[in-house]
């Protein structure tokens, strides 16, 4: 079992560009959540996908959007990049919505740098 995988590992973009990050959940998991971890901070919840729908959203602007595919993999899209979007983006998967009950498994993250 490969666990949660994310691609790419690192990414450099310039302000105003758009970026797409990808996540494959752990085998058997159908729920994917995305977190943003700025340098020196704890992860912050962006949103969660289940059954190809966004189920809950944190305090992030509409520039952040996502998608979940029928095979449960997910994408995070960020439009009109700002310098403050530079962070480690973490994907987490779990079996079902109740991640508070079911352990969430985190991927190694994608390091996004916005210049």
């Amino acid at each position: 079992d490969a666990g949660v995988t994310q691609s790419p590992t690192h990414l450099i973009k310039t302000r105003g560009q758009q970026v797409t990050l990808r996540c494959s959940p752990k085998s058997g998991h159908d729920t994917v959540s995305w977190y943003q971890q700025a340098l020196g901070q704890g992860p912050q919840f962006i949103f969660q996908y289940y059954e190809e729908e966004e189920r809950q959203r944190g305090n992030f602007p509409d520039r952040f959007s996502g998608h979940q595919f029928p095979n449960y993999s997910s994408e995070l899209n960020v439009n009109a990049l700002l310098l403050g979007d530079s962070a480690l983006y973490l994907c987490a998967s779990s079996p079902g919505l109740a991640g508070g009950y079911n352990e969430q498994f985190f991927g190694p993250g994608t390091r996004l740098t916005v210049l």
Partner: protein, 115 residues
């Protein structure tokens, strides 16, 4: 609003010494509490969690945590630290009674281990 505070940004301990990492939470109802560890280049790994019942929770890698409602605390402990424990540790709370995957993280404590 729910929040998690980790008062110690950095802690250095000697190998073989005991360890306690502090975590205070703000949450109205019975909290669902977690401790995660993050090593460089790795995703977050769950050490232990508390939902209810016995207030002393055992986790992986020899860690334990004690839930103290009167102090709103969930401190992580280990009786003897190994060099491989050097990492960043995050305390988290699941709002909504754990019914979703959203976790609220503290800012983390970076642990250094001296030989």
């Amino acid at each position: 609003a729910q929040s998690v505070t980790q008062p110690d940004i950095h802690i250095t301990v000697s190998e073989g010494a005991s360890l306690e990492l502090r975590c205070n939470y703000s949450y109205g109802a019975t909290p669902y509490l977690f401790w995660y560890v993050q090593s460089p280049g790795q995703g977050l790994q769950l050490l232990l969690k508390y939902f209810s019942g016995d207030t002393l929770v055992q986790g992986i890698k020899g860690f334990e945590a004690e839930f103290k409602r009167s102090q709103s605390s969930f401190n992580l402990r280990k009786p003897s630290v190994h060099w491989s424990d050097a990492a960043e540790y995050f305390c988290a709370v699941a709002p909504n009674g754990g019914a979703t995957n959203k976790l609220i993280f503290g800012t983390g404590t970076l642990l250094a281990v001296q030989p």
